[in-house]
Symmetry: C2
Subunit: 222 residues, 2 copies
DNA sequence: CGCGGAGTTGATGATCTTCAAACATGGTGG
DNA sequence: CCACCATGTTTGAAGATCATCAACTCCGCG
């Protein structure tokens, strides 16, 4: 998986990318060999890409090597557009691939200085996208215990780390969120309780105290 | 899960929704009881919602009742914003919930008549979101055979139903896309071949002929 | 009090993974 | 030219994880 970039030419092109960023977006073209990395997770998101020909895969990795591919991108598809300044995925060419590249900043700024409404809207949809993407990794590659740990950490985070976390949803809701069954949820919670990572308040089993958030995080992958 | 909507009042409010659609978006407020359906999958997407207080879940259902919850929405969260005219999810209040509502058309048209670039950008991100959402259902609730059938149908669709479908990715790529192992992919393909639904051309096992797309679709759920 | 909904726990079972072996292909170098 | 090796794929056997089935508790409520 060596990175081998063959720059071919730089010229203004039209197409979907141009339609997005309008005429002032400068587009150039690149070629990647099969197996080449186009950008890596965590790298700065300088460019947005559109495939002229070839196939690209975008994926996330867990530290132990488990991989979740988010999508395969074919000719005409765009990828690499992020809300923030870093890529949330790694993109690799599967076969020899030609891409068209536009600067991200010019593209997003087009909308920004046209008014904050559009920018806010894009940020909002992008948040949803980001959440869906990380949930795909959870559903595709995490174990039951990892999923439950991730769920508890997500809720704790979103509820601003309360002393007592009151879960508004049933075990069935949690199960259907995490792609498991209610019994598996219950067993995972019992395991975490046995590990002294959490305890329940009252009889309802919906009020949770996280006793050790750090150790809980080690139960989640990454 | 009866639908019990208690309309409380209608008045102009400020907040994130207003920030999105600017001042001219008319916002009203509604109350839902726990268990109430706010909108259903497939219904027209007339409104966008922001939670004032309470909790909402959004989910997709398979015909046999398997459910995948996409997200839990808490106070401050927005949901129900779709690219097309219909909702891709069902939204239900988990507990008593107050929401702020804005008309979708006014909100999206704000960006549209400000320039097509922003609208194109939003459409693009929304496509990614839509794909991620349906993939979450696949990863959370579909069996191995259903996933492979769905994958073949997706590729067939995106390659415009070719006579011979040339898969550019390895079995490992397919496995990591579908949240399975290469052996399971291989076994599922062999099963489908045994069912006379597909056959391989040549020795490479990457060139597939779909012999019965209709029957293949029955192997996928929904 | 009885009933239903929600949750836990145990026993069993199915699906999918892991481990292993075999085979084909394609490239490399003697 | 062919041995050789890495990569990719299929298939079988064994094993682990999670699902299913079932029993039980707890609670709220008419």
């Amino acid at each position: 998986m060596l990175v081998r970039i063959n720059r071919t030419n730089r010229r203004l092109v039209d197409g979907h990318l141009a339609a997005l960023g309008a005429e002032r977006v400068f587009c150039s073209e690149f070629n990647y060999r099969g197996g080449a990395e186009i950008f890596g997770e965590g790298e700065g998101a300088e460019f947005v890409y559109q495939i002229i020909s070839g196939v690209v895969r975008t994926h996330k990795l867990l530290p132990d090597g488990r991989r979740q591919i988010k999508a395969f991108h074919l000719a005409g598809d765009m990828f690499g557009l992020e809300n923030g300044t870093t890529h949330r995925f790694t993109a690799e060419a599967i076969v020899g691939t030609e891409v068209r590249i536009a600067g991200r900043r010019s593209l997003l700024e087009v909308t920004t200085h046209r008014g904050t409404e559009a920018a806010n809207l894009i940020a909002l949809i992008n948040q949803n996208l980001q959440h869906a993407e990380s949930h795909m990794l959870l559903l595709g590659r995490k174990t039951a215990l990892e999923r439950v740990a991730a769920f508890l950490l997500e809720m704790d985070e979103r509820l601003a780390h309360p002393d007592v976390m009151i879960l508004p949803m049933t075990r069935r809701d949690i199960a259907d969120y995490l792609g498991l069954t209610i019994e598996t949820i219950s067993r995972a919670l019992s395991t975490l309780r046995g590990e002294q990572i959490l305890r329940f308040i009252g009889q309802t089993q919906r009020e949770v105290v996280l006793l050790d958030r750090g150790r809980l995080a080690t139960f989640d992958a990454q």
